[in-house]
Symmetry: C2
Subunit: 354 residues, 2 copies
């Protein structure tokens, strides 16, 4: 046996492209078009370089407390990590530790199967309905755990709380993770179910609605026992995940609810305008509850539109995957950016007509 | 089966205490007593809050390049992570993926067995010699991988390069990780061996010699194939581990070699003075090559001294473990801090005489 045989070999997740040039309209990784709260800028100015010689608080207590306070939870019900990817990776590692397959939708966040493969967790995907909806009944068979985003990505479609409750209530013997990366743009959070169910984990991120993708902050909310198990795994992997700047800036961010709400409202308003613009151009799309839309065109190949937009320095996301390979996922930017997008698409359709 | 049966249950690593008060001499977690380079302060001032809405470069290319340049390596030979704990966790996950037991010393960094337990990696510990030295011959039996710190922690003792080479050369079929968290305080780095051996991984941290424990930065250096495997696992766990402030500040830090060297020299000089002070008080200790000393007293219980110092607001580290439960690990602070420590110890011995 060579050392090569002892290596864990995996096919990694492919993150959306991060172009290094500035002259780009970036609608490909669901970032927020608005800067973080001015309170974050203030916290940044108040950081003391000299403090960086000391380890951060391994429990990130200040941040945990701010998150708990924001959601009316106890500190012991909150876990924080390096983006919700870190939080979800820790959740997979902690809660999906059995021989039974975990369930998630066939069309969903493309990191779920990557984590399952990495951690050697058996899984079964549940086929979304023709309208890309999640059917709770699909998730009531015996399983090793369940994870799905609400709203789902890249479809942008949400599941009402009653249907989420059906899944959580129907699986008392496994953990159900509701990945709420995009919940703040119009879907219902499952947090109220925490009081009633001990098998529910809700994850959220500061990367989308809180404009802090560059800081890497995510959180999980659950009952105290689950959070304790999660922390045990975290402290067995990396004691100090949240650095000093992150704890200070993320705390300042979540404390500014007014700014957060006003950004979300602006994005929802722009999303509605964008949906109209795209429909006028012949795109077919369902109403999104996220900060992106998922659109297909009956007469044009998504892959071609994607390439054309890229040539115009407008980056959107294209997934070369079964069932969704004729769709584009387009992040909601500012009104101006979306009008530029619509203008470029108009040019594209005109050009293709010739 | 209940959900509780599906949970991965582990006994986590216990990080050193992080007292929340300021009036403490903190010699318990091997932090650097000197602030980070002024270049780090400059990089902090230059950070733009508005950029935080965008994801960081998932490859942290600027930082990887700065590290590679510093060590005369190719960028493709460098991996960066959230402290060397993150880097080592990723290395364990990637390279120790077989049924054969990995080897590490019985007295060493107390995270190794925690990672092995978490990741269900079989392991065997190799008993340090009576003088707390590592015997390379112990590491030549068939194994699934090898990891040891150089200098070792908490003993502070180093292994010369020729003996490290014996271990690396003697294990062509498994990966050998040399954890160089403390190498900059006087031991020889194994980096020159990278040209000759494809089974070697060297890890380092910015937390000790570079005064950035609060920023969480570590790195691994190896041949390109190993780094590729490591990145595949990283991108299967969390694509964006290094946030924007970290990439910018750590880059500024590693580019300031002059400041780094002068801090290391000061710490080495203080360590030598501290060793003299402690020996005068009757402590027995070997010359350390790290930024801490490991000392025992023939007439006093280490646990008692530890408690006394804590009552004086001086924190050192005590491990309640077989063979080392009568030792204290004392981080090297400033000259002034070490003199205060020596004064407190004098008081302790006077008091105990009465």
């Amino acid at each position: 046996m060579s050392w090569e045989d002892r290596v864990r070999k995996v096919v990694p997740y492919t993150p959306g492209e991060q172009p290094k040039t500035d002259h780009v309209i970036k609608l490909n990784t669901n970032e927020n078009p608005y800067p973080p709260s001015p309170k974050v800028a203030e916290a940044l100015r108040n950081l003391k370089t000299d403090d960086l010689r000391l380890y951060p608080d391994p429990a990130a207590s200040d941040l945990v407390h701010a998150v708990a306070k924001n959601y009316g939870l106890k500190d012991s019900q909150v876990f924080v990590g390096v983006g919700s990817d870190d939080v979800l990776a820790m959740c997979f590692m902690t809660f999906f530790h059995s021989k039974d397959p975990i369930f998630f939708p066939d069309i969903t966040y493309s990191f779920y199967d990557v984590w399952a493969d990495l951690l050697e967790i058996p899984y079964e995907t549940k086929v979304l309905k023709a309208d890309f909806g999640i059917d709770p009944e699909d998730y009531l068979a015996p399983n090793g755990g369940i994870v799905f985003p609400n709203p789902n990505a890249p479809t942008g479609q949400d599941l009402p709380l009653s249907r989420i409750e059906r899944i959580v209530a129907g699986n008392p013997d496994s953990i159900v993770i509701v990945d709420e990366a995009y919940v703040d743009f119009g879907a219902e959070t499952a947090l109220p179910l925490l009081e009633k169910y001990d098998n529910l984990v809700v994850t959220q991120t500061f990367s989308k609605s809180r404009s802090l993708a560059g800081l890497r902050v995510g959180c999980a909310m659950a009952n105290e026992r689950l959070i304790k198990y999660l922390n045990d795994v975290k402290y067995s992997f990396n004691s100090y995940t949240m650095n000093r700047p992150t704890i200070a800036l993320a705390k300042a961010c979540i404390e500014d609810q007014a700014y957060f709400k006003s950004c979300c409202q602006k994005i929802v308003a722009t999303r509605e305008k964008t949906e109209d613009l795209l429909r006028k151009l012949g795109f077919i799309l369902r109403d999104s509850k996220a900060n992106f839309v998922f659109a297909t065109h009956p007469e044009r190949q998504a892959k071609e539109i994607f390439a054309y937009l890229k040539s115009r320095n407008i980056y959107v996301r294209y997934f070369d995957k079964p069932r969704i390979d004729n769709y584009l996922r387009i992040t909601i930017g500012t009104d101006e950016e979306m009008e530029t997008l619509a203008g470029a698409l108009e040019d594209y359709f005109k050009r293709s007509e010739i």
